[in-house]
């Protein structure tokens, strides 16, 4: 065959961790030679929201598979090392703190512990590993897309138009791609388009701030949060604290919930900087150790935690949703958000998985985008939605609102046996979200190519 092969055009909407991870993944598989990849980002500059990002062993595996290990280990601080599954380390300490004298609930160990990076560092590493043939287009905010005979036509607020063969929505919880994706094929009015797939409020606000460790040390030189991640639990509230930046700072998150508001649509803005809320009043009768952290919290930013109602389908036709665009969840298991603790690099998981599928399909020669979409959705959707449910459940456990614990009221003394069971459930909760990427890939490959002719039974 003569003539130049037209590259298949992939448009990625969203230049956050998910979009960048996809760029890295495609580059590491040399797929940028087959695909013309364009990443569209709504902001004028690539920045990261939030301070730290925590990577657990399974997340590390994915980043390693994407070829990032060397660059990441380069940026280790002296005390850091590669998280290894074989070495159990303390993951989190849990305490019941809504009483004068706090009570331990459990200590959850995690195989391999975790590594924290400053987000800007991670972004730098990702960008370094994206092939130069992959184009970034900043200040491009997607309004909508439509199917034409040339392919998918993308419309941006700056008036520009682009055409692609395959569209990947990596644009987070307020995804514009998802909005159109859900409305696609149905004649819904514009405001209905906005409602369906709109993020729902979880009922929980989180107040976030970084506290100088010196301040905490003054009150309590041996405060646990200076060295270990710790969760202080109470009725409809909890506090998460963990050291960052080589122990120079403590990241403190105060969660306050009103379960009646769960499932509603948020009225005001999702984020308020320097809130004037009287957050301290929620923790009045809490134990001293927790009090110290609340006391030192000043002008925190206030975030409403939102989630997505589970979608039936994560991809169809030419359109794929990855990361928060498909399955936004609260941060209670350290994954998801763009908010508090980000562990596991969940969005990297989706990106990696999709790239591996594309690589396999390209090698086999027969390329059907809609078939890939069906496989991607069939594999990722069940576990993605399950993880959201499991994470929501985890938050309920932390706040004594889970089934079996609703009777517990603020400040109640709870018998040790009940707390032990709670501790075990919390520990188990962490297991749920450890998803086997190998199993997913195996299932995907067998769905694409494993259709051996079954031996028909002789009758």
């Amino acid at each position: 065959m003569s003539g130049s092969r037209q590259k298949i055009r992939i448009a990625v909407v969203g230049g956050g961790i998910g979009g960048m991870a996809l760029g890295v993944s495609l580059s590491s598989l040399s797929l940028d030679k087959v695909f013309q990849v364009d990443i569209y980002e709504s902001t004028a500059k690539l920045t990261q929201v939030g301070a730290g990002i925590t990577i657990w062993p399974r997340g590390w595996e994915i980043l390693k598979n994407m070829g990032l290990e060397a660059s990441l280990t380069e940026r280790f601080s002296p005390d850091q090392e590669v998280p290894m599954m074989s070495v159990p380390k303390v993951g989190f300490i849990y305490r019941k703190s809504d009483q004068k004298e706090g009570v331990p609930i459990s200590v959850v160990t995690m195989p391999g512990g975790s590594i924290s990076y400053h987000r800007a560092d991670l972004q730098e590493v990702l960008l370094k590993h994206i092939s130069p043939s992959i184009q970034f287009h900043l200040s491009h905010r997607l309004t909508t897309y439509r199917q034409t005979e040339k392919g998918l036509e993308l419309e941006f607020t700056n008036g520009e138009v682009a055409v692609c063969d395959m569209l990947i929505g990596a644009d987070g919880i307020n995804s514009a791609v998802r909005r159109t994706f859900l409305a696609d094929g149905k004649n819904w009015a514009e405001n209905e388009k906005n409602k369906s797939g709109k993020p729902v409020f979880s009922g929980t606000y989180v107040y976030r701030n970084l506290i100088d460790s010196q301040l905490i040390r003054r009150d309590a030189p041996n405060h646990q949060a200076l060295t270990l991640p710790i969760v202080y639990c109470g009725k409809s509230k909890h506090i998460v604290a963990y050291p960052v930046s080589q122990g120079k700072l403590v990241n403190v998150l105060l969660f306050v919930s009103d379960i009646r508001q769960e499932g509603t649509y948020l009225d005001g803005p999702a984020v308020v900087e320097n809130t004037k809320d009287d957050f301290a009043s929620h923790f009045k009768n809490w134990e001293e150790e927790a009090h110290i952290l609340v006391k030192r919290t000043s002008k925190p930013s206030k975030w409403a935690i939102q989630t997505l109602k589970p979608l039936d389908v994560f991809a169809s036709g030419r359109v794929f949703l990855i990361g928060d665009a498909a399955h936004a969840m609260p941060p209670h298991l350290g994954n998801g958000a763009g908010q508090a603790i980000e562990a596991e690099c969940d969005r990297a998981n989706d990106a990696y998985f999709l790239s591996m599928i594309l690589a396999k399909v390209i090698r086999q020669g027969e390329f059907s985008i809609s078939k890939i979409a069906d496989v991607y959705s069939a594999i990722r959707q069940p576990f993605g939605n399950f993880t959201v449910a499991a994470t929501i459940r985890q938050g309920l456990l932390y706040e004594f609102n889970a089934p079996g614990y609703e009777d517990i009221k603020d400040g109640d003394v709870v018998p040790e046996e009940r707390l032990n069971t709670l501790g075990k459930l919390i520990a188990n909760g962490w297991d749920w979200t450890f998803q086997s990427m190998n199993a997913d890939l195996q299932r995907a490959f067998s769905m694409l190519y494993g259709e051996k002719d079954l031996i028909t039974a002789k009758l």
Binding site: K309, A389, N428, S436, A439, Q442, M447, K452, L454
Partner: protein, 331 residues
């Protein structure tokens, strides 16, 4: 959504203590049963009642048991492939043939007879047993509708018995092949159950088991999705803490038969045990000698609503449904 979650998590909460124990538990300790105090009885009355209620649905290919119907061809495929492989090992000239013809086969936990009928049609002299009387009734009824399978035919290849496996131990008959498909995850005492199945085999006999592994993925697919969200199967069909990992199954047969140090044999010249372990590799090894044992993933393709037997040694294939074969040593 919260309600659905509440139900499934309540089940988990109830069995949470066994969930934690599971992490370090081998198959040798009996699980606590809420019903029968008899430790040799692997039957859980709650489980039996659950499946008896669904008896009439067995042969509705689109109903409650559609998954099992769809799984049947793949199980049969594996059974025939493995029997052929072993037969060819002993007789290299052998061409593919009726591997099951004339063999004595026991189907433990036969349910409505899905597998038993397939085995009988392939020429095996098949006995299907089940602890639920209503299952046996349905199975017998369905078989009676086919003149080739009916017990009144000239040479009945298929018969059914309402009995738990343990009751067959006291009888002399032993089998060339014992199958137990999607049963292990429902019994209370898996170690006792496996021992019973093992003992019912002739030396050199074949044991085929299919079950579900104990992983978050399996939970997500078989319980969370299938039961709670999509309602494809009745709630309570599966209990996560009863799922068995492939490695646990393999370890059981590494240790089986138990080296019995309480034997009256005190003579040091006598071999420690007259029977060798069924699987000869040591505990750290992932390798299974293909003439001793094999594990294969069973992968469901929701797009085609079909099951697929994963290739040998396919990584990541054993995280949900899988099938296991092991051979009883000769002598």
């Amino acid at each position: 959504m919260t309600f659905i979650l509440a139900r499934s998590w309540q089940k988990t909460a109830r069995s949470s203590s066994s969930l934690v124990v599971n992490l370090s538990r081998g198959l040798h300790t009996a699980r606590s049963s809420t019903v029968s105090p008899s430790t040799t009885n692997s039957v859980n009355n709650d489980e039996i009642a659950h499946f008896s209620k669904l008896s009439s649905e067995w042969w509705d290919e689109k109903g409650e048991f559609s998954f099992l119907h769809k799984m049947n061809p793949v199980r049969m495929q594996f059974i025939r492939e493995k029997l052929l492989e072993i037969a060819q090992e002993e007789n290299p000239e052998l061409e593919s043939g009726d591997m099951l013809a004339g063999l004595d086969v026991l189907d433990v936990g036969c349910g409505g007879g899905l597998l038993s009928e397939s085995l009988a049609r392939m020429g095996a002299k098949t006995l299907g047993i089940d602890a639920s009387g209503s299952n046996i009734a349905i199975a017998s009824l369905h078989a009676a509708a086919d003149p080739k399978l009916s017990p009144s035919s000239t040479s009945p290849n298929l018969s059914y018995l309402h009995a738990p496996a343990e009751t067959l131990l006291s009888q002399p008959k032993r089998y060339d092949v014992v199958c137990s498909m999607e049963v292990l995850e429902h019994v209370d005492n898996p170690a006792a159950f496996l021992s019973t199945c093992a003992e019912l085999l002739k030396p050199g006999g074949h044991l085929f088991l299919s079950t579900i592994s104990r992983t978050p993925l399996a939970y997500a697919l078989t319980i969370f999705l299938a039961e709670d969200v999509l309602r494809q199967v009745s709630s309570g069909t599966h209990t996560y803490s009863k799922y068995i990992k492939p490695s646990e199954l393999v370890q059981f047969f590494r240790d089986y038969p138990q080296q019995n140090t309480n034997d009256s044999i005190s003579d040091s010249s006598t071999p420690l045990s007259l029977a060798r372990p069924w699987i000869s590799t040591h505990a750290g090894s992932n390798y299974l000698p293909r003439l001793e044992a094999e594990l294969r993933g069973l992968i469901y393709n929701p797009l085609r609503a079909r099951w697929h037997l994963a290739p040998r040694d396919a990584w990541g294939a054993l995280e949900c449904n899988y099938i296991f074969w092991v051979r009883k040593p000769m002598n």
